[in-house]
Amino acid sequence: MATESVKYVAPETETKLQNQVFPRPGQHTTGIIDWLTTIDHKKIGFMYGLTALFFLLVGGLEALLIRSQLWNHNLDILNNREYNQMFTMHGTTMVFLVIMPLSAAFFNFVMPLQIGARDVAFPRMNTLSLWCFIAGGITLNLSWFFTGGSPAIGWFGYAPLTDNRFAEVMNDMGPDFWVFSLQILGVASLLASFNFITTIINMRAPGMTMMRLPVFTWMTLVVSFLIILAFPAITIALAELMFDRTYGTNFYDFQEGGKPHLWQHLFWIFGHPEVYILILPAMGIVSEVIPAFSRKPLFGYGLIVFSGVIIGFMGFAVWSHHMFTTGMGIVATSAFAILTMLIAIPTGVKIFNWIGTMWGGRIRFETPMLFALGFITMFMIGGFTGIMHSSVPIDAQHQDSYFVVAHFHYVLIGGALFGLFSGFYFWLPKMTGRLMNEKIGKVVFTLMFIGFNVTFFPMHYLGMIGQPRRTHTYNLGHGFEAWNQIATVGAFVLGIGIAIGVYQFVSSFFDKKLKPAGKNPWDARTLEWTLSSPVKEYNFARMPIIKSRDQAWENNYGPKEKHSEKEPLDDHGVHMPDRSWCPLVTGAGLLTLILGMLFHATKDLETGVVLERDYMIPIIGGIVFIIGIIMWAMEGPGGYHLFPKEDEE
């Protein structure tokens, strides 16, 4: 038998010129096609951010409806089912469609710039992640229009309330929409995280060692690891729930041997790391903002990075503190209580270090700094109430009361959202090339800070005098009215603040009257500030050779030997990968697949028994998905070359 050999090509000198198998948008594509087919991490970051800001307004509107309903006892602005749908959608939207994608927007935009990369490792995968996120957002919000309306199961979807057996509307489809949208959002997060991990590990500029990475990039890495290790738990839990609801398996059906406890464990094994997935990016942002506005390097860089990693690691060991009242027994509750207390230590370390950073600095109070300071104080309060909850006897009173609502809003608004807003005010000039109006920024901060505290501080007290959460109303005579009214007023103030802020962000993309930002408006410290604003398509005309941790700062103020160098311009120019339709096709296939699965069964309207299953649409979706992937594999990265001048970056 003759042996056939292939051409030997050394990997590093391989030339693999792909034929243009499919028409791909070329180098000079503009307009809508550009946005649909882009694989540029900056544009993907924009789209992530804008979509998330849109959902922030949607989720905020839901919150305002919730607050209006609680204005007084026995109000009827929403009836109980509508209210329950509202808090379910508010929670799910804010966690999965606002805070996570806002973080992802910054990961996408900032992280490659911070490590000196021209793009992420897998640009097309990044685009697919964006389309999956948008598909998930669409799926979740489509639920309003079908049988039963939106899910009314809480963002935690505790079994067995999600079981068909306990549906309160005949053939309620809400939970199905919830399950499928969370699945596809999980796909989005996983794809993005694989990408970020690979990028940070593999795409660093020469000299950018791991211990020179900016803290924000470190937090991106930690969060990405948290996502790839935590999301499988919820994915499987949701798949089991999907099988329960669609095919009648008995994973969570207690009447047939299933255990509702299992759902809670699986959900919180995901759900607690999720809390850190939400807060660590904000911590990373604050760790960038505070040194910039104090004109000092981060105090205890190593410790901040290490504590971030420890928080991420320990985040997997404390999930059961969400379940102190479910009867896990003395040993388990005690163990989780102690572990939960321990996790407060690395968190505290970060706060000490931020204050240490400011010590001896020159502190300027511009909007990003104000939000960062707001973050520190508000997160501190949220953290303290968190420590209270780690104590089981205290938790026995606080669990599922408004005290907990106050606690996690202090962490997620006062913490995560303030941090992200700080990031917007900090990095948006880099994205748009325009400085935002400081005065409006300060008004936004004032409104948000006051509104936020007026809304959520009274909730501590409301919880202590016995208002349970997730109740659409309260009876007279509990003394809840006055405090709820204060909270509602505060919520509207907060809402106005956020709306102005969002308007300011969006308008800064279009408003030509704003001052140009220049390369480094804040005199900030990390690598992205050596680039022009807005950043050029290819990020770096010449690859920088990194010499120190705060490269932009050292270039301006540091000794000569710490200035970064540049690799010489390349004769071949900068290789840019081609735009591609494949991610959009693949994403559309996935959306068709899940929508098809949602509607595949014809049910008897009276009894809810499945009469017929029709898998035509899911199969079509699946085929489109597979075709997308095959096209993807065949078209290859493609590309064209740009020839920037020396300093065009």
């Binding site: 009836n79 109980n80 089912r81 329950n84 009314a152 309330l161 306990f166 549906a167 207690f254 509702p260 390097p297 981060l298 105090f299 205890g300 410790l303 009242t325 479910t326 009867g327 027994g329 005690s334 209580a337 102690i338 207390m341 230590i345 505290g348 370390v349 000490f352 204050i355 240490g356 001896g360 600095g361 020159r362 502190i363 300027r364 109070f365 520190i376 501190m380 420590i387 209270m388 104590s391 089981v392 006897p393 205290i394 026995a396 009173q397 599922d400 009274p458 202590m464 005098i465 016995g466 349970p468 997730r470 109740t471 659409h472 007279l476 005579g477 509990h478 003394g479 405090w483 103020y557």
Partner: protein
Amino acid sequence: MIHKILSRQSLLFSLAIILSGGCSRIDHKQSALDPKGIVAQNQYDIFMLSVWITIFLFCAVGGCLLYVLWKYRVKNEEEAMEVPPQTHGNSKVETLLILASTVILVILAIPTLQGVVLMNRVPDPNDEATLKKLNLDREQIEGAITVNVTGKRFFWIFEYPQFGIVTANELVFPVTKAIRINLKSEDVIHSFWIPKLAGKMDAMPGHENFMWFIADQEKILSRTDRHGKPFKENVATAMPSVFNGKMREAVFAKQDFNATFEPVGGLFYGQCAEYCGNSHAYMSFRGLAQTDADFAKWVERMQNAQNPNLKTLQWDSTKEYEKGSVVIAKDESLVDEYEKGSAVIDKEESLVDENSTREFRALSKVSKGDEPNFSSGSWKKLNSNDYEIGKALFLGSQCGECHALNRTGIGSKGPNLTLFGLRTSLAAGWMRNDRTNLVEWLQDSNKVKFGNLMWNGERVDDKHPLRSFKPLPILEEDGDQLKEEKKELNKEKSIRVNQLVTYLLDQR
């Protein structure tokens, strides 16, 4: 010791709350800040400890932050361009701070672990040291009452296995004894939260949970009045007896339903704390503290009602009846009464026959062979006509399919209604249990409690017979005649409901 320090601190804390919002009272109906039992007191003490720790930390860290912000703020343009010394950290300071925060956490961890044990285990009656520390007598533990609590959408079943009785939504308990609560659920997850006595524990389907509490009579009796002045209430007014309706009267007399602070000390408010569906907000309950003697009498009444020793006999003309005998006989007048109501409820022949029979008590000895002559002075109706018709309606509207009345009825679909007339509240603690409310509830329970299962039936969109009591809406466009007819019909419905209410409220 720690307790004494903490109570002074709790004053300070309430002061802080006054400053923050101008509220002078913390003894709201469901307030965890006003513990009335050992377990809740322990939880409150640990909470206050954590509050002080965190206030200390907040002041220390926040003060430090403010100092830094003030001291190192940029005052002018030149300063903004200065380059401060670029220090990178100080490992000694950081190690010190980590150690300090560990120490603070240990301070919180120790009482936490003790508290976990206290919450989950009733103290051993032989462990005198613990009992002494908790200021308990041995017999308070040994005489513990067990209550099996079952959460259902959207009400609570309380079963007393020691006494073989079942009640719903109002947990009557002796003030001096430890109460052991076994929790389970028959549908989704609920959570039993009684803030002033013991915090909360989930009621899980397919898994039994445990909690316990013991009320503290001293604490129940020491109250504050409406102006915030402390006073001592006496036992009779703080814990009126339930078994003879005194509690109900006291609650009704002393209190507007909307009174913010509870004037009857022995009345505790509880709530389901785990989201359980549409009407989760309405799933509350009450705890009624009783003296030992009153509790024993209540138990006896419940036992009598649920294991009735009153046996009614079918009239038999060949038999002799002693004075005081109770017989069932047909009352023709009642059949007429009942038939008037046929517009409301589909009449079924057998039901009319069965339910229009009623009970009579002999006032003198009846000799053999006489037909019962009810017009004479020898017989007395046991109940009013309204009661009897109400009873007929209760059965005729299939109420009995879900509600056990004078039966134990564990696991029945609806709340057990035995001695319903003694209850202070209605619809799982949501309304005061009086005639007006009960009529409103029965005529349109969906309006009061949207999505309740009595209105919706077991299956979603089930047409429950109760819906026939709902008054017909009188519309503008209706003709005069139709309006008249509707009014007439609504009046009729109202009469029926009132008869049903009479029957229910006479269960006492």
